[in-house]
């Protein structure tokens, strides 16, 4: 078989796809998200120094942490804009880990007292 023919076959076996896919945010949007993340982090540290009862402090810290987590995943990792398949892949691991370890912690009464 001619070398050129082999190359042609190899090329046709691995065709490439080119096209316009999901829209990604603009640099201005990225900067806005960064400002929001910085403000939330500042709030987290600020409420740490307030003399709040644990029952109030901990839910607020988890709320702020959850907002930051969601903003990064949706905007910076583009799950809001990309194919849902990526989100499903990630959620399998994330939700699986959350469920598994929550069950473990509850089983060992990690939150008691």
């Amino acid at each position: 078989m001619e070398e050129a023919e082999v190359r042609e076959q190899a090329a046709s076996a691995r065709p490439t796809v080119r096209g316009r896919t999901a829209r990604h945010p603009s640099p201005k949007e990225y900067i806005r998200i960064a400002v929001v993340l910085a403000v939330i982090t500042g709030l987290e540290v600020a409420i740490y120094y307030m003399d709040l009862p644990r029952g109030i402090l901990i839910p607020f810290l988890f709320l702020f942490s959850g907002i930051k987590f969601t903003l990064v995943v949706l905007w910076y990792m583009h799950l809001k804009f990309d194919s849902r398949t990526y989100a499903r892949f990630f959620m399998i691991g994330f939700a699986g880990a959350m469920t598994l370890y929550l069950v473990v912690l509850l089983t060992f009464r990690a939150f008691a007292g």
């Binding site: 691995r14 065709p15 490439t16 796809v17 080119r18 096209g19 316009r20 896919t21 999901a22 829209r23 990604h24 945010p25 603009s26 640099p27 201005k28 949007e29 990225y30 900067i31 806005r32 960064a34 993340l37 910085a38 982090t41 987290e44 540290v45 740490y48 644990r54 402090l57 901990i58 810290l61 988890f62 702020f64 942490s65 930051k68 987590f69 990064v72 995943v73 905007w75 910076y76 990792m77 804009f81 194919s83 398949t85 990526y86 892949f89 990630f90 959620m91 399998i92 691991g93 994330f94 699986g96 880990a97 959350m98 598994l100 370890y101 473990v104 912690l105 060992f108 990690a110 007292g113």
Partner: protein, 202 residues
């Protein structure tokens, strides 16, 4: 929020899903890494407050210092997405600057973590001193290792860009490293809250 973004033009091998396999693989890897960090964070939570000898978290943590480290890592996520946006627009020179900035911020974070570990060690908190020391060093050490690997990936991207292996048409390489970098960032968001900010009932 304004939706004045840019459509992304990408090129990849044809696949049965229509999506690049490399990106699917990266998401699958990140999903598996959730299980790894979930185990480490759970171990820390499980043994929180169970140490029978000090030093205890409240005696060694320096929250203002760690807060600055958190801001540094958040800033690195911004520079990472700006690098991706630059390469997707074909501005390779600017992308290199943002990639190097991201690596530099990552090095600052890791350097800060080394300094923190050294300080804790001098305060008597070793890996085997108590349950807090063991779970803390293993969790934050694994995270720091991830950041260090990310820095190597970023520097490799910069080197690749000089030999034409990172281009506008091949921007997926930057996107994959970006996904890894942001994942490291979201893990730190959780660690900062669970390990540093939530009081241990002292």
């Amino acid at each position: 929020m304004a939706l004045a973004g840019h459509a992304v033009e990408s090129e990849h091998e044809a696949t049965s899903t229509g999506l690049p396999n490399t990106k699917l693989a990266m998401w699958l890897f990140l999903a598996s890494d959730c299980l790894l960090f979930g185990a480490l964070i759970s171990s820390y939570v499980l043994y929180r407050g169970a140490s029978v000898t000090g030093p205890y978290p409240g005696e060694v943590f320096d929250i203002p210092y760690t807060s600055v480290s958190s801001f540094v890592l958040l800033a690195s996520s911004l520079t990472m997405v700006l690098a991706l946006a630059s390469v997707q627009r074909g501005e390779l020179g600017r992308a290199r600057v943002w990639l190097l900035a991201t690596a530099l911020l990552g090095m600052t974070f890791v350097g800060g973590q080394v300094y923190e570990f050294t300080t804790f060690y001098r305060d008597g908190l070793t890996l085997s001193k108590n349950l807090f020391g063991t779970t803390f060093y293993v969790l934050t050490g694994f995270h720091g290792t991830h950041v260090a690997i990310g820095i190597l990936m970023l520097l490799t991207l910069v080197a690749m860009s000089f030999v034409g292996m990172v281009t506008q048409r091949n921007s997926i390489a930057v996107e994959l490293v970006g996904l890894y970098w942001h994942f490291v960032d979201i893990v730190w968001i959780v660690i900062f809250t669970v390990v540093y900010l939530i009081p241990t009932g002292t």
